[in-house]
């Protein structure tokens, strides 16, 4: 059977570092990039005698995420120990949640070529991150950096509802958007603060029995996720086609070779000897806390997208870009409150504003002008006080200096001439100087019109209101 006769079945496990100030069980900073082992204390170093104390912000973030993903938030959940030896795991066990996670039975909607699709979320649980082993190639030594040990993580596990690599990528993007919108995660795949493993299997089309699955690791970009899943699907199909059986194993995506390779077989899999963490009582979340979190939940990317198309009448394309990040969407809405033509506003956002933000590398939070000032500029363009082209220059100046648009227009003399008398005088002058061209025009050579416009504008140093210039020329030329 060709690949097309097989149905891939994919589930994703997302690990998201939570944006708390301090670690999950101690007061150490979670800041990235500190000198190795600077952000540590006896607790996260796994010293003898230490005990974990739960950071309540982690629970708030987990509840917020659970509600956003339409999960059932459990009033009682239980901490467990996952036991294994590794130098980056100071206690010899990871404190996590196992058989009683904080959230279950959620969903995330994604877009597919066939339309919207619901991907079920099986569970969300909280856990602590491990540190990092640094292998020093020259000295043949391994060093351990425990700055990351104890940084809070959410693990979000989907049901195996994804059917190809593109859906997996869509799901991961949608998940990242939600987490970033919620302010619980920075969505950075490259730095590893947002990570994902993929469980991939294939079965003959029409079958309802899933094939043996492999877990793929080291997928630290959307591209690698797609490539690894596609490679893995064809590998598994090849194995089956050649009469073999897919083994349950953990496989690593090899970026350089573009293949997945076996890391650990099922037989080599750890027995983690999970048991309830005796140092932490079961976690209780009150109804009041859940209600408060629900009330404080921001509008999520999908809802915002829908609202931007309906409320502002924007095309889906515009709405998608404007709502991709919460600060941009918020700024758009603040501007829209001062300016009625949402499509025109959107054009300025998608064109000039985003170009400036990208070129100057400025975050929206550092913007130096107000929504009202942007609205004022657009109003000036509408009224013809300034040309659309000059308006772009004004915006650039506002962006760099934070000056008011009216002041910039005045200072730079960018105001457009809309005085009919003044324009008429120039038009008369140009027509008088170019009697031959006027003849040609009147004889039917209409292309000459552009020449007159050019001459008038040049004489007016580009400040003539183009509409008025056009109207007056046509009138004088007898059209």
């Amino acid at each position: 059977m060709p690949v097309s006769d097989f149905q891939p079945v994919i589930g994703l496990e997302v690990h998201a570092q939570l944006l708390t100030q301090s670690k999950i069980f101690c007061g150490c900073s979670t800041a990235f990039g500190a000198e190795p082992n600077r952000n540590t204390c006896p607790v996260c170093l796994g010293m003898p005698g230490v005990l974990p104390v739960l950071n309540q912000r982690v629970v708030e973030f987990a509840v917020r995420t659970g509600l956003a993903l339409e999960c059932t938030v459990k009033k009682t959940s239980v901490w467990s120990r996952k036991n294994y030896f590794y130098p980056d795991l100071p206690k010899g066990y990871q404190i996590t949640q196992y058989d009683q996670p904080i959230c279950e039975h959620g969903r995330l909607v994604i877009d597919t070529p066939q339309g919207e699709k619901v991907i079920r979320v099986r569970r969300i649980h909280m856990e602590e991150d491990a540190g990092k082993n640094v292998h020093d190639a020259s000295g043949g030594q391994s060093l351990v950096d425990l700055n990351r040990a104890g940084v809070p993580l959410l693990e979000i596990v989907s049901e195996p509802d994804l059917r190809d690599a593109d859906e997996a990528v869509e799901y991961l993007k949608a998940m990242r958007d939600v987490l970033v919108y919620l302010g619980v995660n920075d969505g950075n795949l490259e730095e590893g603060s947002f990570r994902c493993d993929a469980n991939v299997s294939v079965m003959p089309k029409g079958s309802s029995t899933y094939g043996q699955r492999c877990e793929l690791k080291n997928l630290n970009s959307f591209r690698f996720l797609k490539q690894a899943i596609e490679y893995e699907i064809s590998r598994q199909v090849d194995v089956i086609e050649s009469g073999g059986k897919v083994d349950q194993e953990t496989r690593l995506w090899d970026v350089n070779k573009g293949v997945t390779r076996s890391m650990r077989s099922k037989e080599e899999a750890h027995d983690y000897r999970y048991f309830p963490e005796p140092d932490l009582p079961p976690l209780h979340v009150s109804d009041a806390a859940i209600d408060a979190a629900a009330k404080a939940l921001p509008e999520l990317p999908r809802a915002k997208l829908t609202r931007f198309t309906s409320q502002y009448g924007l095309p889906a394309y515009d709405a998608r870009i404007l709502t991709a990040e919460r600060p941009l969407a918020d700024f758009f809405e603040a501007c829209a409150a001062h300016y009625a033509d949402a499509k025109k506003l959107s054009n300025w956002f998608l064109g000039e504003l985003m170009r400036l933000l990208k070129e100057e590398g400025t975050p929206l939070s550092a913007l130096r002008f107000t929504p009202a000032q942007l609205a004022e500029l657009l109003g000036a363009v509408d009224k013809g006080t300034v040309s659309a082209n000059a308006g772009k220059d004004v915006l650039g100046e506002m962006f760099r200096t934070g000056k008011a648009p009216a002041d910039i227009i005045a200072e730079k003399g960018l105001a457009q001439v809309s005085d009919t008398g003044a324009i008429e005088a120039v038009v008369d002058d140009i027509l008088a100087k170019n009697a031959g061209e006027v003849e040609k025009y009147r004889a039917g050579k209409k292309q000459v019109f552009g020449f007159f416009v050019g001459q008038v504008m040049r004489a007016m140093k580009g400040k003539g209101n183009p509409t008025l210039v056009n109207d007056l020329l046509k009138k004088k030329l007898g059209d």
């Binding site: 003898p48 005698g49 230490v50 005990l51 104390v53 036991n83 030896f85 010899g92 351990v144």
Partner: protein, 488 residues
Amino acid sequence: MQLTDLTMLELAAKLAAGAVSSEEATRACLERIRQVDPKVRAFLRVDEEGALVAARASDARRKAGNPASPLDGVPVGLKDIFLTEGVETTAGSRILEGFVPPYDATVVRLLKEAGLPLVGKLNMDEFAMGSSNESSAYSLTHNPWDLTRTPGGSSGGSSAAVAAREVFGALGTDTGGSIRQPAALTNTVGLKPTYGRVSRFGIIAFASSLDQPGPMTRTVGDTAALLQLIARHDPQDATSAAVETPDYSADLEGGVRGLRLGVPREYFIEGMDPEVEASVREALREYERLGATLVDVSLPHTKYALATYYLIAPAEASSNLARYDGIRYGQRAKDARGLKELYAQTRERGFGPEVKRRIMLGTYALSAGYYDAYYLRAQKVRTLIREDFTKVFKDVDAVLSPTSPVPAFKLGEKVDDPLSMYLMDVFTLPCNLAGLPGLSVPCGFTKAGLPVGLQVLGRPFDEARLLRIARAYEREHDFFLRPAPLRG
């Protein structure tokens, strides 16, 4: 009479009156340790310098009329399981040899804040696993009442030091009887508080759901006074109870008239030492004379307690001891090649046979395929044992029993017979499984002059009543006045 013969409260009274200084008392302890510890071997480490600095600071406070606590200046010792900043702490294990903690356990901090000079670190069974102190990697501690015998365990260094009057009091920890059994074997008082009453932060963990630190002293009054300093909620221990601390001494002399005291039939068993049983039965009659009513009660799941304990405690220990991997602190196998060999050799050399036995037991009990049959079932039985007590405490105010089925046994006698060693805890460990407070108070001697202990078990957070019950008996006897002979 020597200074070291005073009880903690007697010394505190003299310190308050200015009749003696803390420095004198501390020097008396240090001198006593020099004299008798070569025979007793209770101490792993004596912090002479630290103790004297603390004593002089205490004297200055007393002089300024500003004592930090009623026990300000009273020197005490610590089981080597309590982390002490700057002072080596090993839990009796080779694997922690040379480990100097960067912080103080909460109870150590509380004692320092209360002004008590900390004289040194006391021997113990390795990682508190044992009932005779013989699993210590460092030395053999001898019972001051008969130097050929064990002082009990795992807090055997603490019980021996207090019995030999090397310190005025000590702290121990109790996971299955490790405070009460050594107290019973040395004619001292030992209290295991309710689980959560005293912070576990900074105490080297054996079995997290069972461990609890507590005082070991010569009298009930001293135990009440020492408990007063350490019983409080600790935000650094999530299992610490946010329960108000009563005044443990206020009602100490209240007597037992009108109290109903349960005598569980399962705690008087075939095979227990007849002299121990006789002493305890005599104590029960004493309570009746003092006006208490004895009530025959049953704790039917007692027979499962030992098996339950030896699944739960090793399971938790196997995980708690995983951190001793040679990577960050303590001993590391120096010639190991590769990570697996580093782990294997470090732990092979660092842990003694009893610790290895329990790590293997616990690892097995938690393994995939066995978890339900062992660990999970043990937790269910644990619930039944707790319910036994809950039912009984609806009818009685406390439960009385022997602390240990036998008096102090010979060193070496049970070393090669772990099962018979485990049986030493048969009366003490149900209390840990149920999270209840338990206390051992001296109740006489065998003909050979070996101490016998009476165990008092109570409702959660009912330590004050346990102390009052123990004190009622102590008041009628002078066992605590008798000095240990320090002979073999």
